[in-house]
Amino acid sequence: MGINEIVLSVARKLHTSSTYHKIKHFVHDIFTNEKNVYKKYFDLTIIFLIFTSIFILVYEVKYPVPYWMDFYDIYIVSVIFGLEYLLRLWVHNDLSEMVIESYHDAQFLGKPFSAVAPLKKGLLQKLQFMVTPSAIIDLLAIFPTYRPLRLFRVLKLLRYAKSINQFVDVLSNKRFELLTLLLLLVFIVFTSGIAIYVLEEKVNPNINSVFDAFYWALVTISTVGFGDISPVTVEGRSISMMIIVSGIAMISFATSVIVSAFSEKLGEVKEQRVIEKINKNDAFLIICGYGQMAKMFLRKENLRDDEYIILEKDIEKVEAGRREGYTIIQEDASRTEVLKRFNTTHAKVTVLCLIADDIENIYITLTAKSISHKIKVITRANDSSMVKKLKHAGADHILMPTEVVNNMIHIAITQPTMYKALHAVLTGKDVAQIYEIHVGMHHTLIGMSIDALDFIDYKLLFIGIHRNGTFLFNPPKDTILEPHDIMLVIGRKISVEYFQKMHREIG
């Protein structure tokens, strides 16, 4: 059996093994997927190792360290970092798949299969990964025996400092300007360094080499001016004056480039932050449109900052919302990529379409439902003809403000007393509200009859049971409670809470 066959059979075995894929996927997920639940713990562990290692490094400068510390630093931390490095390298690409693919291609073309080409390609990709800055830092951070190298462990933190990544991102947008600046800097340092070397090497005792000259030029142009080397001749001083002036110009240019890069990107960066923060929650609201209804709703709800986000297209409304202190970003909720930025796979997301334009609400509903059916959509409809369309689009709840208010007015006219009761129940005033008591799978209430529950003692009014989609109003006293029943009661919050404390889920 030749080397080609061995490689092929190994690749096949790996490629068909589901455990191999599962493990690889899991590792890859932990390294790269921000939404992975375990990533947080993995990151924290690595950060902990880095800090302890740095602590030992600093401590070592002045005091002798005990043996176990050294052992920990040299072996444990290094081994874990080494493992991490190898795993990162491993999951970077899939060699087995490349081999299999190339084998299939070879078969298709009817030419002899050689494992060299795909392996070469795959290994080259791994090599490309190895020369990326973060991979180099990871590699250098493994080796602890040469002390200064441990400083790279500090740099490893960069991977976890999101702000620095964003900083680099922002700056990379101004690559062209910064590169131009750098070239100019190199040019000036080079020419003035050479000039000072030629002019003063013989007369200035502080300039002994070309390196000294370049060092002086950079210190001067940056306006730092340590003063350890200073020109002594008239010619040298004239050159100094020139580079000082050009230095000021260059620094102000660099500053303006960086500032403008940030001011351009600041909004985006902020937005990203907000979305990341909200994505950490396991349930949140996406409110589309900041109008009268959204305002009323927010006033009523008193949500925490990370429980909701408002998406609004109109920049003026966005500004108004910001002034009120709400979490609001300027985005078009009907675009798929906007909604996809949210953690819709793991979190319980509810989309509220509160835009005055029905067509947009329909579009958002469709967008949300096409991303995931798990997204709950509550939408407003202004025209009764839209209700059917919204239902078709998959909206979970549809409400028509005009219909709701017309009903309320009707009740306010025909039954003013009841209006008060209903208003209290609907708006959740302190007096009493309707509450749902959910009976779970293992609830102490299961098997109990209504008669045995002393609602009157709890100062609750029992209305009925919602069971299997139907509502049993005022059921007979001997009705036995079953799992998944929802009891409806009217009463004050404290009564309901007390009731639920006495009767609750077991386990």
């Binding site: 009268q292 009523k300 403000p401 209903l422 749902e436």
Partner: protein, 232 residues
């Protein structure tokens, strides 16, 4: 209650369904419209309608406002509602005016203008959303309770003179026996406000008190007739 007279200003997106609902419930509705199109619609739908310029106090005076139990301002333009409320209260300070509003600011203005009850379209809708999020089942049912003319609903009823309920304590009567639930009541002996039974107070029921009950509409109707009897 069936002979109450309502004066309805506005026959647009709100006025039309409200007028129809009130008519079904046996109210006598008179529609006032400034917009000629709305006025024609009202006529076509069989309402006793007038077409006037609401900015003209004289034509408002001619409407015989005191004859009506309630005045409802549901014109499509919120500014008109505020203006109208103001004009009406200036002419007749004791009018019971119900008005619709579409923002907090308008609500505030309507209250200042003298409307007795202001219903904010977005507030009630926002509440509805809040309830959908927190109490989905109850909300769905409540919606049915409120909107439907059959099935389970609320009903308020005044205890008539000579009712068997008169003089009884509220917990003495087994309402469940009549397939209705007592939700709350207005006890004129205690105070004017509505109180839920769950507040835990004992009430002595008197003629004139208003009770709010919940149940099947049929049972509620039967119960309403029942309470006018002296004995059972």
């Amino acid at each position: 209650m069936g002979t109450k007279k309502i004066l309805l200003f506005g026959y647009g997106k709100h006025g039309r369904p409200i007028a129809k609902g009130l008519k079904e419930d046996g109210y006598r509705v008179r529609v006032v419209e400034e917009n000629f199109e709305g006025y024609e619609h009202a006529l076509k739908d069989g309402f006793y309608a007038v077409h006037i310029d609401i900015s003209d106090d004289d034509s408002l005076r001619e409407l015989d406002l005191q004859e009506y139990d309630q005045v409802v301002c549901v014109m499509d333009d919120e500014h008109y509602n505020v203006f109208l409320t103001l004009s009406l209260t200036a002419l007749f300070p004791d009018l019971y005016i119900v008005a619709i509003s579409d923002s907090i600011h308008v609500t505030e203005k309507l209250r200042l203008a003298g409307a007795k009850r202001v219903i904010d379209m977005y507030e009630v809708s926002a509440n509805r959303i809040y309830n959908i999020l927190h109490r989905p089942v109850a909300t769905e049912l409540l919606k049915e309770f409120v909107a439907s003319k059959e099935g389970i609903s609320f009903m308020e009823m005044e205890i008539p003179e000579g009712s068997f309920l008169h003089g009884k304590m509220s917990d003495e009567i087994n309402f469940a026996h009549y397939d209705v639930l007592l939700v709350g009541l207005v006890d004129f002996e205690r105070h004017q406000g509505f109180e839920f039974v769950t507040a835990g107070h004992q009430h002595c029921l008197d003629a004139g008190d208003i009770i709010v009950c919940m149940g099947e509409v049929e049972n509620l109707r039967i119960f309403k007739k029942l309470i006018s009897k002296k004995e059972l």
